[in-house]
């Protein structure tokens, strides 16, 4: 009897709970989303800029051709946006996109394939004197065509494994062709897109305000009445804004300490979402400076690092966590941990690793107590804790390292000169995609931002092979070969730890999913507030 009663009670509770859950998950319209942005856009032109300071406040005014599925925590799955479907030709050299109909710009005019073509022509084939930050990403594109008002076709020079992913860039806003034809720089100082919000105001140094676009093509969206992006440089002020419930979220990320403090102060009022972050600090060895031209020395330096213990300790105090190779852990092309553990510097047995490091140094003729200078960027988080950890690790194999901290804005000016022995380098991606993430490591004549100044035709060839491979499994294998050569056999660079993105946000905020990229999921069309 008691069992039946218990069962009935459970059914009753479930019956009560289901409508509550359903109600809580039902998006609610209304409210203004308030969020601090730690950086401010220099201009409004997404095709020109490279900062999240543009994406966070400006992306809600625009749509892109495709987008990353806003519910995908991996941040790699393509989803429809202005294009509702697409097909790829059998030879992989032609991508045809069918556009939605009834999409309006904020000025009331209809969006057609002419606008998409004009926008992509500006990105891929900018006229002389016009800067396009992502032109280099589309070297495979031969032409962009608009055969009719609702069709856009990209003709490629060769089949590409990354082309579709390159269209997921959150920077590739679709602009109005007529405006671009009159003044190609118009969008640097003006905002007018097809996005879920219309532009209200930007008070420089203070805030950007957006209001719901009533004519938005995705009926019922956006849920919010508007948003207010407030520029706040100081992280303490950002935390205080969330803690005082004046702001709902900060989309870039907070430190572990900030997360713990917010959770302690606000309890259930705060929800925390975390993800590996598609940003990583790595150490570049200047191949023009002795003894770093010797791969045994470079291998020794990576072998000295206990990444697994480092991860445990540093993730308590810094925005780093996962042990990683050249791809964000957990994403489609990432090397699984058991395979990664075979690479130099990733061995689980640190004593064995450091003994090998000492042997290599001895073999290369590097004396005990050898001194060198490590050039680091004057940005405290996470450059400082990572540098302290590495310097301490290198001391354990008998090296004596001095850190030279260079002011942040002038940093690349200094290391480009090539006077440094070793330096901290940085990469942050707007989507997780091998073409983007490993381009950095190509030979210096192909990539001038290679501050190791090395030439490695084998790496270059592997890069091209993986880029042109349309078979994901084959591509994975090539990426692994690339990774092994880069980090183990040649040790041109050494990876520190993958950044870790921590987003504590108001529990009132729903419909937003953290991804490895702080450039994604900022269109805000799916976001809603429960109160």
């Amino acid at each position: 009897m008691s069992k039946i009663r218990r069962l009935l009670a459970l059914v009753a509770i479930a019956g009560l709970a289901i409508p509550v859950v359903a109600e809580a998950q039902q998006p609610r319209s209304g409210g203004e989303l308030v969020f601090p942005v730690p950086s401010e856009p220099p201009s409004y032109d997404g095709h020109r800029e490279e900062t999240f300071g543009l994406i966070h406040p400006i992306a809600p005014f625009y749509n892109t051709l495709l987008r990353v599925d806003p519910t995908d925590p991996g941040g790699t799955k393509p989803a429809a946006s202005l294009a509702e479907s697409w097909t790829v030709s059998p030879d992989g050299k032609s991508y045809t996109f069918k556009l939605r109909t009834g999409v309006k710009f904020h000025d009331g005019s209809e969006m057609t394939s002419k606008d998409v073509k004009a926008s992509y022509d500006k990105i891929i084939f900018p006229p002389a004197g016009v800067g396009s930050s992502r032109k280099g990403q589309y070297v495979d594109v031969e032409a962009v065509e608009a055969p009719d008002a609702t069709t856009v076709r990209f003709r490629l020079k060769f089949a590409s494994g990354s082309f579709l992913a390159s269209l997921l860039s959150p920077y590739n806003f679709i602009y109005k062709a007529d405006i671009l034809a009159k003044d190609i720089n118009w969008y640097e100082k003006n905002i007018m897109g097809t996005g879920p919000f219309t532009f209200v105001e930007h008070v420089k140094g203070s805030h950007v305000v957006g209001r719901k676009f009533a004519g938005y093509w995705d009926k019922g969206k956006p849920y919010l009445d508007g948003f207010r992006a407030i520029f706040m440089r100081d992280s303490a002020a950002q935390v205080a804004a969330v803690r005082s419930e004046r702001a709902h979220i900060q989309f870039r990320g907070f430190t572990p300490k900030d997360r713990d403090n917010l959770k302690a102060a606000l309890g259930d009022k705060i929800t925390v979402q975390e993800s590996p972050w598609d940003c990583i600090l790595m150490v570049g060895f200047n191949h023009n400076k002795k003894p770093f031209d010797d791969k045994r020395v470079r291998r020794a330096l990576t072998l000295a690092l206990d990444r697994y213990e480092g991860s445990k300790a540093l993730s308590q105090i810094a925005i780093v966590k996962t042990v990683a190779g050249v791809q964000v852990p957990g994403t489609p092309f990432a090397t699984p941990p058991e395979e990664l553990a075979k690479l130099a510097g990733y061995w689980p047995d640190i004593e064995k690793s450091r003994a090998e490091a000492r042997r290599l140094l001895k073999e290369a003729g590097v004396p005990e107590g050898f001194s060198f200078v490590f050039t680091n960027r004057g940005t405290p988080m996470p450059y400082e804790p990572l540098a302290v950890w590495m310097i301490d690790s290198w001391r354990k194999i008998g090296l004596n390292v001095t850190q030279n901290v260079v002011e942040s804005a002038g940093y690349y000016g200094v290391i480009r000169k090539g006077d440094q022995q070793m330096h901290m380098d940085f990469q942050c991606g707007y989507i997780v995609e091998p073409d983007l993430d490993i381009y950095k490591f190509l030979s210096v004549e192909r990539n001038p931002a290679n501050y190791g100044f090395y030439k490695d035709p084998v790496l270059d060839e592997l890069y091209d092979k993986q880029s042109r491979s349309t078979n994901p499994e084959e591509r994975k294998k090539i990426v692994r070969q690339f990774e092994k050569r880069l980090l183990d056999e040649e040790a041109h660079y050494l990876m520190t730890l993958q950044w870790h993105r921590i987003i504590p946000h108001s529990s009132k905020l729903h419909g937003w999913q953290v991804t490895p990229s702080h450039y994604l999921n900022n269109t805000l069309d799916t976001v809603w507030l429960s109160q």
Binding site: P42, S133, Q137, S206, A240, A241, R243, A409, F426, N447
Partner: protein
């Protein structure tokens, strides 16, 4: 007096020219430029040299230094400070926006500081070595020892933890909504004004003590004049001169120097703009801001010199 004023005014021109040359050269000596700060600081994957050359050409950074300097000077002569290299907006617009906030904050902090410093300093001097003097000394030394940004952080924490309240996050001009405006600016004004007041109080006390020991004050006392009258008519006029210098220089400093306090309270003021323009290597904006601050200091100095000459006629006869 007119000749004195003219001389002081003429001295401003070569000083400003010196500042202009110095800041122009110093900025070019520092590694990096605005294009690098824009495209290389973000860790982007495709850093194209072609793009950087296009951007440099757009900003005129590919021209020889002398041409850049002449163009800038010619603009200044026409009161045209050019465009910010970072945002492309007119520099006057960039500065105008922040100037209102910084000026209001400077005025509020100076008012708080002056209204407290002068009476407290006088009181401490008159009541030397009494409990009143000790209390004022503790108050002023605490103000000197406590950085204003730290006091600001304490204020924010107290408001947040005990009152679950924070000042508004966005600046509202006084004429739009006085309540919101004061709710945001009173706290930084108090934090900054306290330190400023501490300096003024110490200065006022020591200057007043010195003057109160003068023979003419002793004579006035011997004649049986009221202390209140002695202080206000005879002592204050002479003791106020060094205090005036300190107050005016602090005021000029407040216009562009409140970087950390502005960060703590998230104020969109000139101090933050200054730091951002330097870190972005926005040459044109930094140059304009340096000139603005230098001009403010020179004007304040000029006004103080005139006030000195007015308060103490001996100065203008030298």
């Amino acid at each position: 007096m007119a000749l004195y004023i003219l001389k002081r005014l003429l001295a401003i021109v070569p000083t400003l020219l010196g500042v202009a040359v110095l800041i122009f050269l110093l900025l070019r000596v520092v590694p990096g430029d605005v294009v690098e700060a824009r495209y290389m600081g973000q860790g982007g994957q495709f850093q194209s040299q072609e793009l950087m050359q296009i951007e440099r050409a757009k900003l005129g950074l590919d021209k020889p230094l002398w041409q850049q300097f002449t163009a800038w000077m010619w603009g200044i002569v026409r009161l045209d400070f050019g465009l910010s290299m970072w945002t492309g907006s007119p520099i006057t617009d960039e500065i105008k926006l922040r100037f209102a906030l910084s000026l209001q904050l400077a005025i509020m902090a100076s008012t708080i500081a002056t209204c407290l410093a002068i009476p407290l300093g006088i009181l401490a001097a008159i009541k030397q070595d009494s409990w009143v003097d000790y209390a004022v000394r503790v108050f002023s030394i605490s103000g000197l020892a406590m950085p204003s940004f730290w006091l600001g952080i304490l204020m924010i924490l107290v408001m947040l933890i005990f009152f679950k309240w924070l000042p508004p996050m966005v600046f509202t001009p006084l004429w739009v909504n006085p309540w919101d405006n004061l709710a945001q600016l009173i706290w930084p004004a108090l934090a900054v004004g306290y330190r400023y007041c501490a300096v003024g109080t110490r200065m006022m006390r020591s200057a007043m003590l010195e003057v109160l020991r003068e023979d003419y004050i002793r004579t006035a006392r011997a004649k049986g004049l009221w202390l209140k009258l002695i202080v206000s008519r005879h002592a204050l006029k002479n003791a106020i001169l060094p205090v005036l210098t300190v107050i005016s220089l602090e005021f000029a400093f407040l216009l562009g120097g409140l970087v950390v306090t502005e960060q703590v309270f998230n104020l969109n003021g000139l101090g933050m703009l200054f730091v951002e323009s330097i870190s972005r290597r926005d040459y044109t904006l930094t140059q304009a801001l340096v000139l603005l601050v230098a001009t403010t200091f020179l004007i304040v100095n000029f006004v103080v010199d005139i006030a000195y000459a007015w308060i103490d006629p001996r100065i203008r006869y030298r």
